[in-house]
Amino acid sequence: MTEKIEITLNINGRDYEVRVEPRRTLVDVIRDDCGQTGTHIGCEHGVCGACTIILDQEAVRSCLMFAVQVQGKRIRTVEGLADGDKLHPLQTAFMEHHALQCGFCTPGFLMLAVNALETNPDISDDEILDVLASNLCRCTGYQNIIKAVRSTAAEMRRARA
């Protein structure tokens, strides 16, 4: 298990060639080996969702996967949401609706909700609640997180109309 394997991780469009032990979790490799520390570790057993990333088209807990499982897949993390200085609409909505306090859970919530909005553009308010129940915020800012995601969903619907 301690013999290292060479893998290539594609994070936010950039390839990272790393040598890792097969037992290393994806989140550890994203943070420590690739230096992308925006993805946070809150529980290491899939409960809190702070480590949520988007893998191809799916929001996943990166603490519940091994890095060697994601060779050839596209990883998106919070660092890839903005386009240069232009923030993703959901990042702006989080600021506008005060959807964060300490900010530790925020990257996970952003990736969770961005994936939900992308895969289900007509997502209903109730479905948003259901999705957001996946992650934990200990500053208990849930109401404002819900507001931010709902307003972004509405904005994206308007933009399509």
């Binding site: 923030l87 964060l100 952003l110 915020c137």
Partner: protein
């Protein structure tokens, strides 16, 4: 329109939504630590066996480090010592026994599994009531009956008032222990500086200066050789204001190994070994007159504080706050209370958001509900008869309630819920076999309290004040350096709003520096609902001094009276004229052309202010409608 009172985007947020926040766990280190922890609640350490050639540190190597020994000078407090790594005995599950050091976190974890800690279990006591019983295991020899805070008070007329009560109603509540559970577990990173011999400890703390003082003291190093940084901190809720023994070990290791050493707590460690709270038994009895008004209140409070006393508040924080604030928003004329802190073989207690407030509020609110039922009164009505109405009010325990809106908030809550409508729905539901209930919770919450309030508890380390230093540098950039240490409260934004109003600028032009003992004045950190009141008050005072300096300088340069200068739109202007000077020009002059002020003003722009208020109370009423599934 002022900046204060306006809802604006937080200055903290752009970095945090981009994933550019910087938390302790983001730092890299050359050595990583894993703690070996006790698997039993009580026992004697017979032997610690270590794999050959591995770097494992125990109380033997750390023999020169003093134990954590917080002090309280009142309430029959018995000091107890906590070694930073267990020495001879263990006293709770999760107590650190050894620190294992390796090149990676994974290697440290592997190595920790190979450390053999042979512990002979001894009888353990885990409940506060059992701990006071005859024959209970003793947690520390200094306290044979396990009681280390034993406080009591009784007003002169209490016995007569209770004896003469029309009706006496009692209620006993038990609060099980809780964990504040910040989403970011604890973390510490200590880096030894080869050139100066100083150590920089970056850690998830709410109180960097207090950490610097105590860690330097325990290790025996000059406080000036230790820099403590609280970077972005992922929530604390009180759990991160107390000293973690692990932080002392990490700092010691950085000095001993002359390198950078880090530890990131995992969630399991946080759950078992980081501070717990609110494990209390509370029994209250109220004497009521014929109209349902309280004439006397008694309380018996038993707080299970675990195996050690936390620094800096001591374990008195829960039982003593419960004793002083038990009457809450109610007019209690006579009061008697016994409140104790009891040691057990469990994880130590530390303050957690509201400290005893949730438990005492539950106890007295249930007492009111029981009284309402006994008197045949509506729960709102019994409260209305007992809530304090005239202010200022000095409570039976000597607390000053300067102003409050107890009746108004309760009326608003009751109106919001439509109690009459609810009663009809409740009756209908009951007929169908469904159980609906309505709960009211009226409470006050102490906020912004300074030195006198903490001194009343007899704390050796008495927090309270905050200092703010404010400078305008030669470029005109305004910086405030604070001793408070926000970790999610948005204090950077709110303080910038205060300063912007005073200095005629906008919040985004102001830098607030916090969480770095090399850069900020000594202060107490962020806890106890204090920062906006106390650090905010000091900020306002410092900003007014800077304002006075700027207007004096502008008056000299613009040949006008200082009183006629207004600060607005980043400039100082003579009121009613178009004569003005930009703040950055004034600032540049303050440093580079000080001769222009003809000796009336010294060089530079730097002011500081300290604020230490008496404190006040906020209040609210919560109302909840619940359905109980009686089948489950």
């Amino acid at each position: 329109m002022t900046w204060v009172g306006r809802s604006i985007r937080r200055l903290e947020d752009p970095a945090l939504v981009r994933g550019d926040g910087r938390f302790t766990g983001d730092l890299t280190a050359s050595r990583w630590v894993r703690f070996v922890r006790s698997p039993v609640a009580a026992g004697r350490i017979a032997r610690i066996s270590v794999p050959a050639g591995s770097a494992v540190f125990t109380s033997v190597e750390l023999a020169a480090v003093k134990p954590i020994r917080p002090l309280l000078h009142k309430f029959n407090y018995i000091p107890v010592s906590q070694p930073v790594l267990a020495k001879d005995v263990v006293r709770f599950v999760g107590e650190p026994i050894a620190a294992v050091v390796a090149s990676t976190q994974e290697d440290a974890e592997d190595l920790a599994d190979l450390v053999g800690a042979e512990i002979e279990p001894t009888p353990a006591v885990v409940g506060a009531r059992e701990a006071r019983g005859a024959g209970a295991a003793c947690v520390h020899a200094e306290a044979p009956d396990n009681v280390i805070v034993d406080a009591s008070s009784k007003t002169a007329g209490f016995d007569a008032a209770l004896a003469g009560a029309h009706r006496r109603i009692a209620f006993a509540a038990r609060s099980h222990r809780q964990n504040a559970l910040p989403i970011e577990p604890r973390a510490a990173h200590a880096a030894w500086d080869r050139s100066t011999g100083r150590v920089t400890l970056t850690c998830s703390t709410q109180a960097p200066h207090a950490m610097r003082t105590v860690i330097a003291e325990l290790i025996g190093m000059a406080e000036s050789d230790l820099r403590v940084i609280a970077p972005d901190v992922g929530g604390g809720f009180g759990q991160k204001m107390s000293l973690s023994p692990e932080f002392v070990v990490i700092t010691w290791l950085a000095r001993a190994l002359r390198t950078s050493v880090a530890w990131i707590e995992d969630r399991r460690e946080n759950l078992i070994a980081c501070f717990h709270s609110r494990d209390q038994h509370i029994a209250v009895e109220g004497g009521f007159d014929a109209d349902g008004r309280l004439t006397a209140l008694s309380a018996d409070i038993l707080a299970n504080v675990g195996a050690y006393s936390c620094y800096p508040t001591t374990c008195g924080v829960e039982p003593l706050m419960a004793m002083a604030e038990m009457p809450g928003p109610y007019d209690v004329p006579e009061y008697a209370c016994v409140s104790r802190a009891v040691l057990t073989h469990t994880c130590p207690m530390a303050p957690y958001r509201g400290v005893s407030r949730p438990v005492i509020t539950f106890a007295i609110e249930r007492l009111m509900d029981k009284a309402a039922a006994a008197f045949g009164l509506d729960p709102g009505e019994i409260r209305r008869r007992n809530l304090i109405r005239s202010f200022p009010h000095t409570s039976v325990t000597g607390l000053l309630l300067d102003q409050a809106s107890y009746i108004e908030t309760m009326d608003a809550a009751v109106q919001a819920i439509d109690v009459a409508g609810f009663r009809a729905r409740q009756a209908q539901a009951r007929a169908q076999g469904r159980y609906l209930g309505l709960g009211l919770a009226t409470f006050c919450e102490r906020t912004g309290y300074g030195t006198p309030a903490f001194a009343a508890r007899g704390m050796e380390v008495t927090p309270g004040w905050e200092t703010v230093e404010m400078t305008v540098d030669p470029s005109g950039s305004i910086e405030a350096r604070i001793g408070a240490s926000p970790h999610g409260q948005g204090l950077r934004t709110t303080l910038a709003q205060i300063i912007a109003d005073e200095l005629g600028t906008s919040p985004d032009r102001i830098k607030i520096v916090h969480g770095d003992t090399d850069r900020t004045p000594y202060g107490w950190g962020t806890f106890a609902s204090r920062s906006l009141v106390i650090a905010g008050g000091a900020t306002l005072m410092a900003a007014r001094k800077v304002r006075a300096r700027l207007t004096t300088m502008a008056g000299i340069l613009l040949e006008a009276a200082a009183e006629d200068i207004v600060l607005e739109a980043d400039a100082a202007r003579v009121v009613g004229t178009d004569r003005s000077i930009r703040i950055e020009s004034l600032a540049r002059a303050a440093y580079h052309q000080v001769h222009r002020f003809k000796g009336e003003i010294g060089p530079g722009i730097m002011e500081s202010a300290t604020y230490d208020p008496a404190g006040t109370f906020s209040n609210a009423c919560h109302v909840a409608v619940v359905e109980v599934d009686v089948e489950t």
